[in-house]
Symmetry: C2
Subunit: 354 residues, 2 copies
């Protein structure tokens, strides 16, 4: 292909040329990753479905009664086993949640395991057992798989790709660009638990209360919300880049602004303390069992009540509004009456989080 390569087709002079090689920040869920996607992947591979950049693609097939949700995720979390879970259940719930963010009922998963030579068979057994249990919890079937082995020193024990298929009920109309001015913004629970759990193991930190990952499947919570009202306009899984990235992506897709009250963000005391100690902003820390919802204001109460009735939405709270001012921008109202721009993170806050 070398002689067919036309660099001008795929790279914009800026900003990719600032980085002649891939750096960790390109996998951050922040601005550098967004640049890589917008300046290399979309120009070469883009189409109507991909360009939406939703958590999952929404496909309409000829003659098919319902839309199909289709989503992929590779998991490279380090360490493989962490407080509250391991890469096995993370790989199941991560893709289940991406499907759920379209309102789909997750049905089928594929599993691609890239094993590193030397991985203890017992570790693989423990992770596959957790993977299996997570499939049962989320009520999905693994119907196709692939196994590859790479040489020692060319992997990190185990990388897992899961790709999922779900069906979207006809009456559901959730999409990243569906927010409307006047809508309200809801967060489903405490933020930052997964990221700080990983961080605590990786850095060998001990806190008074053990921080555990929140990794959980969100599709039932979404079902409960949709049963309360169909006026749910956007859903976003707050994983890499945290709530800050989720809100920025929704503001950008809808070309509207978002304002929220920082003090309303639910935060476990241990996570708050750990973030303060490490100088991290919990808004940017990854979650694996939390969502951000943008909902018509008239149905906010019903939706919140429905969320509170579900264990994974018990701490759900209305944090802000969608506004027509400052399109594409997210503003946090701070405790002292001011406000600050919550931008997309630029580079890498915490690599290898999922």
């Amino acid at each position: 292909m070398k002689d067919q390569l036309n660099i001008s087709n795929w790279t914009c002079p800026l900003p990719l040329q600032n980085y002649p090689t891939i750096v960790m920040g390109h996998g951050s869920g922040g601005k550098m990753m967004s640049d890589l996607i917008h300046h290399m992947f979309l120009p070469l591979l883009g189409n109507e479905a991909l360009n939406q950049l939703g958590d999952a693609a929404v496909l309409e097939l000829d003659q098919y009664p319902t839309r199909v949700a289709f989503s992929t995720d590779s998991f490279v979390v380090n360490p493989l086993i962490f407080p509250g879970g391991n890469i096995g259940e993370l790989a199941v719930y991560g893709t289940v949640n991406d499907l759920a963010m379209t309102g789909a009922q997750p049905l089928f998963l594929s599993a691609g395991f890239i094993l590193e030579e030397g991985l203890p068979m017992e570790t693989l057994g423990e992770i596959t057992t957790a993977f299996s249990a997570a499939c049962q919890t989320a009520n999905v079937l693994v119907v196709t798989g692939d196994t590859k082995v790479v040489n020692k020193g060319h992997g990190d024990g185990l990388y897992i790709n899961t790709t999922g298929i779900g069906l979207i009920p006809a009456e559901v109309a959730i999409a990243p660009e569906n927010a409307q001015a006047g809508d309200v913004v809801i967060v489903s629970g405490t933020v930052g638990d997964h990221g700080m759990a990983i961080m605590s193991v990786r850095e060998g930190l001990e806190f008074e209360t053990r921080i555990v990952s929140d990794t959980s499947p969100l599709h039932e919570l979404v079902e409960t919300m949709l049963a309360a009202s169909l006026d749910i306009h956007c859903l976003r899984d707050a994983t890499r880049g945290g709530v800050a990235a989720a809100l920025n992506e929704l503001a950008k897709s809808s070309q509207l602004g978002i304002t929220f009250e920082e003090a309303k963000i639910p935060l476990r005391p241990a996570v708050k303390a750990a973030c303060e100690m490490l100088g991290m902003d919990p808004l940017y820390v990854a979650n694996e069992g939390k969502l951000v919802a943008i909902v018509k204001s008239q149905v906010a109460e019903e939706v919140l009540a429905a969320m509170h009735s579900h264990p994974l939405g018990r701490d759900a709270v209305l944090i802000g509004q969608v506004v027509s001012d400052h399109p594409g921008m997210v503003l946090a109202k701070t405790g002292i009456g001011g406000s600050r721009v919550v931008a997309l993170p630029v580079g890498e806050l915490l690599p290898r989080i999922c």
Copy 2:
């Protein structure tokens, strides 16, 4: 999960306990990989669709007029760029071919890129350009993707997972277990080209004629075959483990025997010479644009004629028969009038081939 782990559930005393850790052979497409799948993955994750172990899962969805084919493949080929192609087009055609082996029309792909820190942006551009061109050739759309970055020294430049969706026409009835005694066995062209192309670069070998990979999309060839006759019972992509593994898997799934004439296997002179020099059996060498078909004998001529009309089936040849003797076993008739068992390869012939 540690305290819930019950090793007796997932590992059979033999043969996994012979290997306390993952070794390269577990990714070979041979007996060791089959053991890993049968003794760990299937007991934990198995279900009707997964247990078929086809190139792709075949899913029947309520109210859907056609069956859905769903297949996943991770690509870890080394080197990333090789004579005749690179990991980009390999990743597209690999999954397109797995879908095509069910008779499906491939439609949508997901792309999961695991990038290693330090990968030159230009290499990523070249590979993504090839990936894009291959999608156009195969007429598939990438509709969802994921990008992860791992630290330098924890990857190998780039691993790609592609997972695909296709639709299977109602009248097609291809499945690994559908072979019948009396059916004939066809190979679509010369074998071993991909594996020997990779080998030649990796080992720095030079032959009189340059060996190039045969990486190509096979769905049109399959369409052409199905237009000639619907009595195509089994199709198998002869990738890892080569034609030997494909025939063994089909014999095992159908619980019938297969015999073929070794001298009829099409082989490029350069590949033959290289295999002889390296002491390798071309039957076990990987292909990326060749299929094995099991076809009702009455339609063999029509199917072969159709294959010969397509550039990717020009060298197709009838090599043998399905027999009710020696179920699950593959026998090659050798040039000197004898015969030998062609078993599933045990371990690793050539790692990191796809």
